[in-house]
């Protein structure tokens, strides 16, 4: 939401600017906004050991209130100000800035951008030192500290990066789909719970950036399908939220069997030299190359 707000601000501030400049600037603004918003819980986690799940939930609520304030106040569509209805939404951004659609489908450029980002994140996490360090911190904080990695810095950084991508998601939603920002006063009005469903998609993709691509399409399809179902045969879309919750629970529940299977495999086949943990090669790298 913060990302979307920043992007809208850029779009509305320069209505006559060249699209080639304004749109990237807006998307970038969205990312910066998201990075700052995600970085705050990151810093809190890194330096004060504040549980990131709790602080991000609070940050969500604060963002919702900030959004409501801006959309009802300073950013409200001038057209709506004239009318009695006063729907809390911003003015439409200039049509020149709309992300081009890939005719003949309704896919817009943002979809391609998302796939590109997934690949970039994969490269970042598995092919750079930075990514290696982030994963090391996630796998074993103590070991990473002994290896001389600045653990707090990478915790904050990874949350800021994920915030940046979430901000981009908000910005793309504006420039590709809605062309304005609106609110129904709740956390889920504008994003349609996309954030929480994003968590589900990430899990479903086994927390691997490339795995999230099919997972995200699957859940996008489920959600669109849910809305269609609601219109066509009056099956409430809430059903899909319910099912999504169950999916998360089931996915994490199968963890036990996955671990058991992995352990069995290790016992049957003695440890090879490059499988020894905490050598200079990334622990998971050998397996990953096989699957990609």
């Amino acid at each position: 939401m913060v990302g979307a707000l920043c992007a809208v601000l850029v779009g509305l501030s320069f209505p006559d600017g060249p699209a080639l400049l304004v749109v990237p600037a807006a998307l970038l603004a969205g990312m910066v906004g998201g990075a700052i918003w995600g970085g705050i819980p990151g810093l809190l986690k890194a330096h004060f050991n504040v549980n990131e799940i709790l602080s991000t939930v609070m940050m969500n609520q604060i963002a919702v209130q900030g959004m409501n304030f801006l959309l009802i106040g300073p950013l409200m569509d001038p057209v709506q100000l004239q009318r009695a209805s006063r729907i809390p939404q911003t003015a439409r951004i200039s049509p020149a800035f709309d992300l081009p659609r890939l005719a003949p489908t309704r896919l817009h450029l943002g979809t391609l951008l998302a796939i590109l980002m997934a690949v970039l994140v994969y490269i970042l996490l598995w092919r750079t030192t930075l990514g290696y360090r982030i994963r090391a911190v996630g796998l074993n904080k103590e070991a990473a500290r002994y290896a001389g990695i600045n653990v707090p810095r990478y915790i904050a950084l990874s949350l800021a990066l994920s915030g940046a991508l979430a901000g981009l998601a908000g910005a793309v939603q504006i420039y590709g789909v809605n062309f304005r920002m609106f609110t129904d006063g709740s956390a889920t009005g504008f994003t349609g719970s996309a954030g929480f469903h994003g968590i589900v998609a990430a899990l479903f993709g086994q927390l691997h950036p490339l795995g999230t691509i099919p997972a995200a399409f699957l859940f996008g399809g489920l959600l669109v399908g849910a809305n269609k179902l609601q219109r066509a045969v009056q099956v409430p879309a809430a059903l899909i939220v319910t099912l999504n919750g169950l999916v998360v629970v089931f996915v994490v529940s199968t963890e036990l069997w996955r671990q058991k299977r992995a352990r069995r495999r290790v016992i049957e086949r003695p440890l090879e030299r490059d499988e020894t943990p905490l050598t200079s090669t990334p622990p998971a790298a050998t397996g990953q190359e096989g699957t990609v």
Binding site: F48, N49, V50, N51, I53, F69, A187, V248, V252, L256
Partner: protein, 310 residues
């Protein structure tokens, strides 16, 4: 403008509604305290509250009996707690993420049932304020403390009971042992899984009751996402309270007083945008978390599944 806030009548109003608003936080956070003390982080509180709130509302509306509603909320909350216990204790699922799963499940399910069974926002005549004889006659204090509804009294009674169970009984000792050092507890013959099953199920039941206190005692309505983040705040309050019932009480009161203050700011029409006023409790919670985490150490085995070696 500050002077307006400080009149006796307004202060009294803030105190009265603050005491009342703390009710759902207390139920949910005390329940969560038991779970976390035994080493299980249940982030599904919000979902359990929503389902409990709906169950209480629906049953109370259908049968006309508020007590049946309370029973229904306790039952479905406990049921969800039991499933959460199975997933996190027997299946060793990651507790943070499965909690989010239960949150989404509860959010969706309560909305689904609401749309199919009720359709529109309806009201129910919930628990009425019940003045305690004699005590409610005490000037000022009587109005603040002894003229609330039954579920409010219940929440405040729960605090000393929970503190007593936790600190003075064998069962409380077992809970703490299991949360601090499950291996040691296990070797002394304490059934780690059983203790955790009990605390998480109890936490679920109390979360359900917290939902009921919203839908049939404080607000007397049910709507989509009725709790709007309240369950997550309850979890934060457990951290804030240092995993002790009395600490949780202090946190819940502080939080709900700020909330009540915020409501009065809006009622009086002070020149602060209402959105910023609504933000205040959340900002406060984050700050409180920063301070609280420095002060006390969480149960050692929190979020760690127990696997018997060998």
């Amino acid at each position: 403008m500050i002077g307006e806030l400080l009149t006796a009548q307004v202060l009294l109003g803030i105190l009265t509604s603050g005491i009342r608003l703390a009710t759902p936080y207390l139920y949910a956070a005390i329940g969560e305290t038991f779970g976390q003390r035994s080493g299980v982080l249940n982030l599904g509180v919000e979902g359990q509250m929503l389902v409990g709130a709906f169950a209480a509302f629906y049953v109370a509306r259908r049968t006309g009996s508020l007590w049946l509603g309370v029973a229904a909320a306790l039952f479905v909350g406990a049921l969800m707690g039991l499933i959460m216990a199975f997933v996190s204790i027997t299946l060793h699922a990651q507790q943070g993420i499965s909690g989010i799963g239960f949150y989404l499940f509860g959010l969706g399910l309560s909305d689904l049932l609401f749309q199919t069974l009720l359709g529109t926002v309806q009201t129910v005549s919930g628990f009425r304020p019940l003045a305690i004889p004699l005590l409610s006659r005490i000037p000022v204090l009587g109005e603040v403390f002894f003229n609330q509804n039954l579920l409010v009294y219940g929440a405040y009674l729960l605090v000393p009971i929970a503190a007593f169970v936790m600190d003075k009984t064998t069962f409380g000792l077992k809970i703490r042992a299991v949360g601090e050092n499950p291996e040691a507890a296990d070797s002394l013959g304490v059934n780690v899984s059983l203790v955790r099953y009990i605390t998480v199920t109890l936490g679920g039941a109390l979360s359900g009751l917290a939902g009921a206190s919203l839908s049939i005692a404080l607000l007397n309505v049910f709507q989509q996402n009725l709790t709007s983040g309240l369950g997550f705040i309850a979890v934060a309050l457990v951290y804030f309270g240092g995993w002790r019932p009395w600490g949780v009480l202090a946190g819940a009161l502080l939080f709900s007083m700020v909330n009540a203050l915020q409501l009065w700011v809006q009622v009086l029409g002070l020149p602060i945008p209402s959105e910023f006023a609504v933000m205040m409790p959340y900002v406060l919670t984050i700050l409180a978390l920063v301070v609280a985490v420095q002060r006390v150490r969480p149960p050692t085995a929190l979020t760690k599944p127990f696997v018997r070696e060998g």
